[in-house]
Symmetry: C2
Subunit: 280 residues, 2 copies
């Protein structure tokens, strides 16, 4: 796969990394970036993440063969529909959003003939923002979920898979709902927990936090606006998993309160088994 | 401060690091290690963490000027009382236990004249165990809490402070209860949360966990027996802080459920402010 023109909408940590990887791997001959701030686009160009920056979405998508939306989840569907009006037949649209069902539902069936949208979510990134944190190896060996629905065009799905594999990622195909239920537990709930924990620590105890606390709460440094949108998109699955977690916390509470060291040991041992299986 | 003979009871991650640091910094002329397994003691000696290993506690503490207990919190008080019977007047006993009130209460007032115990807790360590993870720089610039009660001998407190500062740590003096209340929130609760979260993830979702999940749950790989003892020692403060956290989770739940993005943004922004203040 060699893309003549790849357009990246949003050149932050993920968009910038995507541009760097696509250029360094020869996956795209030309990379265009869309952003709201000229200085960020200039910076991304100097970094080598894009060849040219655009403030206007439709100008940047007109020559594109592939467009990847790397903007907050509450902007992707609107931008994809706007881009679809301007781009040529045969153009592939995909994204990197942390939620999939709302986005795919809002876009599917509303595109001009010949323009395809396939949802993607590379499980990469961090609490950091901006092209200054971009890394051309961000996607290497990481899993990218590519979503499929009954309306997904099989050829577009394969092109999306080839794109991510070309960037070094492993690909797993799931339905948007299956993705959102899974990520509610593995990503959105951890963020909520980390934020709840960080939020109850008063300043006089900051000095008494060590590596364990810092690891447990690291993601809480993420951008509040991005996460507010993610929680809004994945409300039901997040609430279901939060209830599951609270039930488990109640089991821990009973074991600690009653001094039931056997029950506590079972709970801690089972958790250790999971965590050991994940590796560092 | 140059200690003629320093005895370390328990030569795992913390005890091994203490021995390495004390020898490399010339803080102790001779370091004796006490353990249950000859092979671990031999390994610690080859590593340079101790000069000589002992299976018998009393043999190892008889020549000691300073004894540091680096064993699980439910063993420290019993070992300190046993050691005190054998050691010379003027010997300083301290520890590295993650809880302080139960230990200090069990030891204070039960020691022979001239033998002093001062509680310590270096906020260092990790989910890893054993001398193979020992690091002579583990305590550098880390905070060590040293506890003081109305019965604490001022000279012993100063010797304890000098010991930790000699190992590179910063020292903060607190009462055992104040320590336990603070660490319930900054260390014991994060462990409980990480374990609860790791524990509810089924194997089919392991592949869908990324860096955020791994950070948030890292401490859950810690040894269940060590943590069962910590929770037993600090039951009341852990339960109080768990209740505080669950109240905060309920606030998050209400905001997500009702789609109150303003409330969610306030909660996430406040958490980010705390986490940003802690640094990486």
């Amino acid at each position: 796969m060699t893309i003549q023109t790849l357009t990246i909408v949003g050149v932050g940590l993920l968009g910038g990394s995507l541009g760097l990887a696509a250029r360094q791997r020869g996956l795209a001959r030309r990379v265009l970036g869309v952003g709201r701030h000229l200085d960020v686009l200039d910076y991304a160009r100097q970094l080598g993440a894009i060849d040219e920056g655009f403030l206007n979405l439709q100008d940047a998508v007109r020559p594109a063969e592939v467009i990847v939306f790397c903007t907050p989840v509450d902007q992707i569907a609107r931008q994809a529909l706007a881009a679809a009006e301007a781009c040529a037949p045969g153009t592939l649209l995909t994204d990197v959003g942390s939620t999939k069902a709302d986005i795919v539902r809002a876009v599917e069936g509303r595109l001009p003939t010949g323009v395809a949208f396939v949802g993607s979510h590379p499980l990469a990134g961090s609490e950091k923002r901006g092209p200054e944190h971009a890394n051309p190896r961000l996607f290497e060996r990481r899993l990218t979920v590519v979503t499929q629905t009954p309306r997904t065009d099989p050829a577009a799905l394969e092109r999306t898979r080839t794109l991510w594999e070309g960037l070094g990622a492993r690909v797993r195909v799931m339905s948007p709902d299956e993705h959102d239920r899974a990520l509610a537990l593995t990503s959105h709930l951890p963020h909520l927990l980390a934020a709840a924990l960080a939020g109850i620590v008063p300043p006089e105890l900051y000095d008494l936090t060590a590596a364990g606390f810092r690891d447990t709460t690291r993601v809480a440094a993420g951008d509040p606006a991005l996460w507010t949108a993610i929680f809004a998109h994945n409300r039901t699955a997040v609430l279901d998993n939060l209830d599951l977690l609270c039930a488990r916390l109640a089991e821990f509470r009973r074991a600690v309160e009653s001094g039931d060291t056997a029950a506590l040991d079972v709970l801690l041992t089972q958790a250790k088994k999971v965590r050991d299986a994940l590796g560092s």
